[in-house]
């Protein structure tokens, strides 16, 4: 029974990983940028929420409603100011710029908030749970996170396939120059993609912060989870990312069941196994 429980908990954790990895997948799919500051952005969102709550006394849900759009705006600006210029200089430049951003964010957080470990207090909601069957207990927070992840992925899917902007986004992803010729402004389109990525990463960061503790140096390990979810699922596939997140979550959960020290290692080993035997990922997306 405890094994089934581990699978259920891993599944729900996987939803969070998927929500978190969506932004990484989207930015790579559209702009061919691997955002090495991805994990740090989630941590910045967590600290921002913490500061807002302690500074203004606003309830958590208001803070979430404020933080997520704020990050979308930040994302748009980051793309237009920092990333757009480096895109033309090749993949090395974008990698260096995002890596530099990661180091800057980590150390600014360290200077402002110190290296102490924090958590975001989600109140009674974060700790309450219900009994599913027998000894399987499901927390409300992980369940809501999972459903939220599915809703966000479905929303992005609808946006990409049904709206005009989404079509332009896909067109720019396939062939930027041709898309520009037929009237898409690729810079604006890229900005929108980054805005979506930042919004999802902020949301995921806040969910992470309610579940587990964080400190300024947490970002890189989070980035690795997102990266593994994307590669396991298949590059450039949204639903692949959900599957990858779930595979990673379940593996970590089962690894922890065997030996708590195995949690991270189990996830990494599944990632390496996918890399060795199915490098295109479980659900291969559109060819890059």
């Amino acid at each position: 029974m405890q094994w089934i429980n581990a699978v259920v908990q891993g599944l729900l954790l996987g939803g969070l990983y998927a929500l978190f990895a969506t932004g990484l997948s989207l930015m790579f799919g559209v702009m061919r940028i691997v955002n090495l500051a991805h994990g740090d952005l989630a941590v910045v969102a967590s600290f921002l929420a913490l500061a807002l709550i302690s500074g203004t006394g606003l309830p958590l849900w208001v803070v979430i409603v404020v933080t997520v759009p704020l990050f979308a705006v930040l994302g748009y600006l980051t793309q237009r100011v920092l990333l757009q210029g480096s895109l033309s200089s090749g993949p090395l430049a974008t990698l260096l710029v995002t890596f530099g951003l990661s180091i800057v964010l980590q150390n600014v957080l360290l200077e402002i908030f110190s290296a102490d470990t924090r958590t975001l207090d989600g109140g009674a909601f974060a700790t309450s749970s219900f009994q599913l069957a027998g000894s399987i207990t499901v927390g409300w927070l992980p369940l809501v996170t999972f459903l939220l992840a599915c809703a966000v992925l479905a929303g992005i899917q609808v946006f990409l396939s049904r709206t005009g902007l989404g079509r332009m986004l896909r067109a720019s992803s396939d062939d930027r120059e041709t898309a520009n010729l037929v009237g898409a402004d690729s810079r604006h389109v890229y900005g929108v993609a980054t805005a979506i990525a930042f919004a999802t990463v902020a949301l995921a960061g806040l969910m992470f912060a309610m579940r587990s503790s964080f400190d300024p140096a947490t970002g890189p390990s989070r980035l690795i989870f997102a990266f593994e979810a994307v590669v396991i699922g298949g590059l450039g596939s949204l639903w692949g990312t959900l599957l990858g997140g779930i595979v990673l979550g379940v593996t970590q959960s089962l690894g922890a069941q065997i030996d708590p020290a195995m949690t991270l290692l189990a996830g990494h080993l599944v990632f390496l196994a996918v890399l060795a035997f199915r490098p295109q990922g479980l659900l291969a997306g559109r060819t890059a």
């Binding site: 790579f28 210029g85 993949p91 974008t94 200077e111």
Partner: protein, 343 residues
């Protein structure tokens, strides 16, 4: 004799093709003098100076290895700390087995090559940006595996055996010379490797992989050679770090921070120039010493400078120097002169 041979010979007779400009010969002499001076330092200055310089030498060696990997091989790795860690732990393990720690440093390079071969099979399945994060995950796996080995001290790390009997002054001087030798070996190794056939294939691969492959270059082989050499250099650097600090901690030695240092030093100094890491390491080191009292701010400034250089100055500082003066300390290209004009 074919027509093309004839044409090539006639063309070659009219121009003078050389590696070195006149300035390189002068600067080569200056460089040699500098090395002799640096080697004599333990007799001249106090040990705190040489102890600080050991850190600089390690940075130069690490950055040179990353420059070889990314600047010449086109392999942008964020996971070289894997080999720094493996090298460090090799020295610890070999010293436990009774090997003299200073002799264990070159052996650590060998261990790293042994580990780098299977690692490259996995990592080379990823391209471009994904290679960067993939190597990082592999480094994490190595850290998590090392932590599980109780004989290596587990999560709390381990001290280095075999150096406690040595006089501290002598130990400091020996460590300094080993670190200097490491720097000379890595920088010199890069230079010699890049002058030869491998260097030529590498630069062709970096500039246009498909065309290089079509011209008969074994792309994977060239990349693997660079990867293995880079692993060896980083491993030896990890060994020097251990010999210098006398202990090892898994979280510190497998920290992605090492990659951050390598990347920023190379980017600021000038990626794709053998001189770049030297200049970058000096800049980095100066910044680190100047801002030592301000906590983590030097990393913030470093990150910001790194972003700015990557964005607006792709050739780094050395690129700037070279554009202005044409100076090249380690010429890996050729100068073609015809009727006295250098090109």
């Amino acid at each position: 004799m074919t027509l093309s041979n004839l044409l090539t010979e006639r063309a070659a007779a009219n121009v003078d093709v050389r590696r070195a400009a006149r300035t390189s010969k002068l600067s080569g002499g200056a460089l040699l003098a500098a090395v002799v001076l640096l080697a004599a330092l333990p007799y001249v200055v106090f040990s705190d100076v040489t102890d600080t310089l050991v850190n600089l030498y390690v940075l130069v060696a690490l950055a040179s290895m990353w420059n070889l990997l990314a600047g010449f091989g086109g392999l942008v790795s964020v996971g070289q700390q894997a080999f720094v860690g493996i090298g460090a732990y090799s020295v610890i393990a070999l010293a436990d087995l009774g090997v003299q720690p200073y002799l264990a440093v070159p052996l650590a390079a060998v261990t790293c090559v042994v580990f780098a071969v299977p690692t490259s099979w996995l990592a080379f399945r990823l391209r471009g940006d994904y290679f960067a994060v993939g190597t990082w995950v592999i480094a994490e796996v190595y850290r998590l595996l090392v932590v599980r080995v109780d004989a290596l001290g587990g999560a709390s790390g381990k001290g280095l055996a075999g150096l406690s009997g040595l006089d501290p002054v002598l130990r400091g001087a020996l460590t300094y010379w080993v670190a200097l030798a490491l720097t000379l070996a890595t920088v010199g190794g890069c230079y010699l490797l890049l002058r030869g056939r491998v260097g030529l294939s590498l630069m062709a691969v970096r500039d246009e992989e498909t065309a290089a492959s079509a011209a008969g270059i074994d792309v994977t082989r060239a990349k693997r050679i660079v990867y293995l050499v880079s692993a060896a250099g980083c491993g030896a650097a990890g060994g020097v770090i251990t010999v210098s600090s006398l202990s090892v901690n898994p979280d510190a030695i497998f920290n992605v921070q090492w990659s951050a240092y390598m990347i920023f030093i190379v980017v600021i100094g000038g990626i794709g120039f053998v001189e770049g890491p030297l200049l970058g390491a000096v800049v980095f080191f100066t910044l680190q010493q100047l801002l030592a009292d301000y906590g983590a701010w030097y990393l913030v400034i470093l990150g910001a400078v790194g972003i700015a250089v990557a964005r607006w100055l792709p050739g780094g500082l050395w690129g700037l120097v070279r554009d202005r003066t044409g100076l090249s300390l380690f010429p890996v290209g050729y100068y073609v002169r015809s009727s006295g004009h250098a090109r």
